[in-house]
Symmetry: C2
Subunit: 75 residues, 2 copies
């Protein structure tokens, strides 16, 4: 059922801050497809740790400057 993960991201804002980098350009830069960037940006699922590292390095920041995690209430 693939619920929305409790991880937020600032990908869109970072793209804008980097010369209005397009989703397609970011996808190519990190070696994934555009669909993957769209899904991550929309929070439909959380990326692999490897993709997270690649994205953060493209923007020259740390992983936790791109992605944030809030502990879900322990069900």
């Amino acid at each position: 059922m693939a619920r929305r993960p409790p991880i937020g991201n600032r990908i869109r804002a970072l793209r804008e801050q980097h010369g209005n980098m397009s989703q397609a350009a970011l996808a190519e830069a990190i070696g994934v497809t555009r669909q993957t960037v769209i899904a991550m940006e929309q929070g439909r699922y959380s990326p692999s740790l490897e993709s997270a590292f690649r994205i953060s390095r493209v923007f020259g920041v740390g992983v936790e400057d791109v992605f944030s995690w809030t502990e879900p209430p322990d069900s």
Copy 2:
């Protein structure tokens, strides 16, 4: 074929620094199985970003204090 990902981790060392926490105890603390901890620790695959966050918080450090990424030569 699930090649070994270019991500290293210091999970074992951090477990030891935290009172010789067992793999089973870590697994329970982050809500995964022991098999998953073993596989991550051995670098057989890289965890989800969510698991990475949970692990780092158990040890009270940042994601990049647990996991490291070295850019692979662009094949």
